[in-house]
């Protein structure tokens, strides 16, 4: 899995993110309120189903960029 594929999947899963604009270096701070309770559970489910990664809410909140989020998922991935 490379970052481009991850971004495509992320955009499909979290519909509050704009399609085709995300890059690895994109900062989540550009999207205030993105990680509300609904998007957190959507992402946790996505990480478990797609990557067998068991994430905590804190894992998501500590990622400042898409690259960082990708790295956390890969690190926790059981696949």
């Amino acid at each position: 899995m490379n970052i481009d594929v991850f971004i495509k999947k992320l955009e499909a899963e979290i519909t509050d993110l704009p399609k085709g604009k995300l890059r690895g270096e994109t900062k989540f701070i550009e999207y205030p309120g993105l990680w509300d309770s609904l998007n957190i559970v959507l992402f946790i489910a996505f990480a478990k189903t797609e990557f067998d990664a068991d994430l905590e809410t804190e894992d998501i909140m500590q990622a400042k960029t898409v690259n960082e989020l990708f790295a956390i998922v890969m690190q926790k991935s059981g696949k």
């Binding site: 509050d16 509300d36 309770s37 609904l38 957190i40 559970v41 946790i44 478990k48 189903t49 809410t57």
Partner: protein
């Protein structure tokens, strides 16, 4: 895992009843309009039937039972066992099953007791009834229902839009055919606080403080007498425990996913169920769904989905069913059972149930 089987079990009929009052989640003002569509799409619940004026789970189960007994032409005096599964019984004591025995006009020779369980309750109830049936108790009624909407806070976006109310009746009888039902039941009480009602039991009786609203998060205000739901923990629990449990049971009885005709899951929310389906590679056509118009009806969701999601025509044909309930406890259970000629009367919509 607690794995066991019960022989000579025949499910003769399943009926369900919901209150007539519906609540549409598009009317829910506690979630910003801009977020509403995404929310409804993700949880898969557009509307729910709710009991707003005193109708209890036992009222809904009673109507379902009366209709079912009539349709399958059982004599009431021949029913020897009544089990009521719910976490919203009529009284703290006695068991609601006793009240239902009397109300349904069943014989005094009928044993009746409650099982206090929530989302996994149908599978647990069916396991108990099946084991008793296999010990040659001829006929049993399994009445399963909840009125979860009564225990939710309007100002709690994590629980209010989810819960609907329903009562169901399942008729189970001894059959000379060697029809075996298989069960796998599990528990992890360490996670009980992920889904519970803190006050109202003997651990924390109701006090003035139980009735005060407190903020628990963004858009989450509730009383301690209301449902506390930690969505993240329930999601993680469901995706961690349910798929392996199903795989284990199927492997134990030497069946494959393809051998099952319908996977009837507890209707938690679309996010959880769709991901379980994806993890197990279950075709969506084999996963009946009643979330859209009924929401999460707690213990009643599996039998309600048999009636509304599979339907009478399919339930008359031979089917290999896998039933799986998971939730409060934390508790989860899976059953595999063959059925044929199951009578499923049309869903009862209890008019004036909220009056």
């Amino acid at each position: 895992m607690a794995f066991f089987s019960a022989n000579h079990v025949n499910i003769s009929g399943v009926a369900a009843c919901v209150p007539s009052t519906t609540y549409h989640n598009t009317d829910y003002k506690w979630i910003a309009k801009a977020k509403q569509k995404n929310f409804i799409d993700s949880i898969g619940i557009a509307s729910r039937h709710i009991s707003s004026g005193g109708t209890t789970a036992s009222d809904l189960c009673f109507d379902a039972a009366e209709l079912l007994i009539k349709k399958i032409k059982w004599h009431k005096e021949s029913i020897n066992l009544l089990v009521f599964v719910s976490c919203s019984g009529d009284y703290t004591a006695p068991a609601t099953a006793a009240l239902l025995q009397n109300r349904l006009g069943l014989s005094k020779n009928c044993m009746a007791f409650d099982i206090n369980m929530a989302c996994s309750g149908y599978v647990y109830g069916l396991s108990v009834v099946s084991k008793m049936i296999s010990a040659q108790i001829p006929k049993a009624l399994l009445l399963v229902g909840d009125v979860g909407s009564v225990y939710t806070s309007y100002k709690d976006k994590s629980s209010f839009p989810l819960f609907g109310d329903a009562g169901t009746a399942t008729a189970v009888e001894y059959s000379e055919k060697n029809n075996t039902a298989f069960f796998d039941l599990n528990t992890d009480g360490s996670g009980f606080e992920a889904l519970y009602v803190p006050d109202g039991g003997s651990r924390h009786p109701i006090t003035k403080k139980s009735l005060e609203y407190k903020k628990y998060g963004d858009g989450i205000y509730r009383k301690r007498s209301q449902i506390f739901l930690n969505g993240v923990e329930i999601l993680k629990f469901s995706l961690r425990e349910v798929p392996p449990s199903i795989n284990k049971l199927l492997s134990e009885i030497k069946l494959k996913i393809d051998d099952v005709d319908y996977f009837v899951f507890h209707q938690a929310n679309k996010l959880i169920n769709a991901n379980i389906g994806k993890m197990l590679k279950i075709p969506s056509a084999k996963m009946p769904d009643t979330l859209l118009h009924y929401g999460n009806t707690i213990s009643a969701s599996i039998p309600l989905t048999i009636v509304e999601g599979i339907g009478a025509e399919q339930m008359r044909k031979p089917q290999q069913l896998l039933l799986c309930g998971f939730g409060a406890g934390l508790s989860w259970g899976t059953a595999v059972i063959k059925t044929e000629n199951v009578v499923c009367p049309p869903l009862i919509v209890k008019q004036g149930a909220d009056k």
